[in-house]
């Protein structure tokens, strides 16, 4: 790391400034697929957060043992072990969630956020900061997922279901809407609406980061990347625009 951050900063950077989904644009696939309902989004977010914290801790503790040439397979093995554990727990205690998340639960193994944090952070930092980083990034992922899901579910289905492990509350205003001649805008639940909400939230996160003095995320070279300080690969502006 170019600059040393306090533990509090390591925790809060994942919320918005380095939010894995909205600023680093990692883990896009599960984000778009799972954010159709808040219940699924929260389940997915919490499962990924648990895996993220555990794998960050394990990889950070093993970082001096893992040879750098085979580090990626090692990371995947560690992550896969934790994903299997989480999957068994979800199957046992929240079978409904397992059913609705489907393939995206085992796919946490190859989730870019977890692999990305292992590569960019845990393999270079000690155990406690890595755990905090995992927690912060996990919260950021869950927050982005839940916010996106809330917008999509509210506009697309006219309902809001905030539930964790079957506990929580749900609102359904489709009948009230129908009474005044309105109906949910179905496209928000479909893929195009997902991309639209995603883009709007990225713009918003970009704006917030810019107001906090961080570079705007752009497509030109490494300067525009919020992860630049932690990344080993450097690409110049010319190379980036040539691609």
């Amino acid at each position: 790391m170019a600059e040393k951050k306090s533990l509090r900063q390591e925790l809060t950077k994942g919320f918005i400034i380095e939010n894995p989904v909205l600023r680093l644009v990692l883990g896009t696939c599960p984000t778009l697929a799972v954010s159709t309902s808040v219940e699924n989004a929260l389940g997915m977010g919490i499962a990924a957060t648990i895996v993220l914290i555990c794998s960050n801790v394990a990889i950070s503790a093993l970082r001096k043992v893992i040879p750098s040439k085979v580090r990626i397979p090692c990371f995947v093995v560690v992550i896969a072990a934790f994903v299997s554990l989480v999957q068994m727990f979800v199957k046992a205690f929240a079978p409904a969630l397992d059913e609705s998340l489907g393939i995206f639960l085992p796919l946490i193994v190859v989730n870019c956020i977890i692999l990305g944090r292992a590569e960019a952070f845990a393999s270079k930092n000690s155990v406690i900061p890595s755990a905090i980083d995992g927690l912060g990034m996990g919260i950021g992922f869950t927050f982005a997922l839940a916010l996106m899901a809330a917008i999509r579910e509210f506009f697309g289905a006219g309902a809001l279901t905030i539930k964790v492990l079957g506990k929580g509350f749900s609102i359904d205003i489709t009948e009230q809407l129908a009474a005044i001649g309105l109906e949910p805008i179905l496209i928000f639940i479909l893929a195009p609406g997902g991309f639209f909400v995603f883009g709007m939230l990225i713009a918003l996160a970009n704006k917030i980061a810019e107001n906090n003095g961080k570079p705007k995320a752009t497509l030109n070279g490494c300067e525009g990347c919020p992860m630049a300080s932690a990344c080993a690969v450097k690409i110049s502006d010319e190379e980036a625009s040539a691609q």
């Binding site: 001649g181 309105l182 109906e183 805008i185 179905l186 496209i187 928000f188 195009p192 639209f196 040539a242």
Partner: protein, 329 residues
């Protein structure tokens, strides 16, 4: 020294009198026969839908330009044209708030977010129609099509293309009814006669070139002729039914989203015809005009790259080599 003042200016020295608002006004004039026809066919509700669409498009344009701190462009009338075209793509029974939602999508999301007039990558009215279709399938198809002109009784019937899709050939309207628009469908698409009148006006005024409409409709006709094993009767239904004529004349000729080269226009039109026919024959939806034009809109930059005319006297080979070198680098 001669005291007479000479103006020295940079080229161009001869300017065309065409202005954006002038061209848009011509398009609006060309769309009026179809508006009159739709009010006659669907009643006053058709006028109401059109007015709401136009008003909300103009307001959306004005407000979004103000929010983005850019100059107001409502005087170029392009928002009015978008509003009319959007209304023509909707059934007369559509709730008005959906019309407003569609107008905002067309102007703010599709047009202004990409930079305003001349910058949109797809046709705003068509994109809004597709978003409305996937958002409110109930309000945009099937029983939403009514035809109230027949003896003051509101008759709800499937659109001719849906009838063909379901194979109920006996309940098809006559070809004469199809030509004058006495069938169910979207506001502006039913009356082929009025649309062709507007199209001829645009061609005479040189606002559009007839290449795209003619090639587009001929491609569909040819493919349908093959599909229906030479049954000319059915080919006529396919051409007059749905939004083919409206799309071919008014939407596939949009300056921003269609090729400017002659060859490019032909490629574009054949592509539109092909996709329309494939969707109509094999797709789950009865109509494919809007999707085909939107899909071909996205291909336009590539079509133009491939059909750039060779300047007189220029050699072709060095240019290709240069391109290869650039690609290699």
């Amino acid at each position: 020294m001669n005291s007479k003042k000479l103006t020295v200016s940079v080229s161009p020295h001869i300017r065309s009198l065409d202005t954006t608002s002038g061209i848009m006004l011509d398009v609006i004039i060309a769309l009026i026969p179809a508006l009159i026809a739709s009010v006659y066919i669907f009643g006053i509700r058709a006028l109401l839908v059109t007015i709401v669409a136009v008003t909300s498009c103009v307001l959306a344009e004005s407000i979004s330009r103000k929010v983005m701190k850019r100059e107001d462009t409502i005087s170029d009338l392009s928002a009015v044209v978008t509003g009319i075209l959007l209304a023509y793509n909707l059934p007369s029974t559509i709730p008005l708030w959906m019309v407003i939602f569609g107008s905002v999508v067309a102007i703010v999301v599709v047009k202004q977010m990409f930079g305003g007039i001349g910058q949109n990558f797809v046709n705003p009215a068509l994109a809004a129609r597709i978003i409305l279709m996937s958002s409110f399938p109930g309000a945009m198809s099937g029983s939403a099509f009514t035809n109230p002109v027949v003896k003051d009784i509101t008759i709800t019937s499937a659109s001719p293309l849906a009838i063909i899709k379901n194979g109920e050939f006996d309940s098809l309207p006559t070809l004469k009814e199809m030509f004058f628009g006495l069938t169910s469908g979207c506001l502006g698409e039913v009356c082929a006669a009025a649309l062709i009148l507007g199209g001829v006006y645009l061609v005479i005024r040189k606002v559009i070139s007839p290449v795209i409409p003619v090639v587009y409709i001929s491609t569909v006709a040819l493919l349908m002729l093959i599909a229906f094993k030479g049954d000319i009767h059915m080919v006529a239904y396919e051409i007059l039914g749905g939004g083919l004529i409206l799309g071919a004349i008014f939407m596939a000729t949009d300056y921003t989203t269609t090729p400017i080269t002659f060859k490019g226009k032909i490629v574009f039109a054949i592509g539109c015809g092909l996709i329309t026919s494939v969707i109509r024959l094999f797709g789950s939806l009865p109509e494919g005009v809007s999707f085909s034009i939107i899909l071909m809109n996205i291909f336009v930059p590539h079509i133009e790259n491939l059909t750039t005319p060779k300047p007189f006297g220029a050699e072709k080979k060095p240019k290709n080599k240069e391109k290869e070198e650039v690609a290699k680098a």
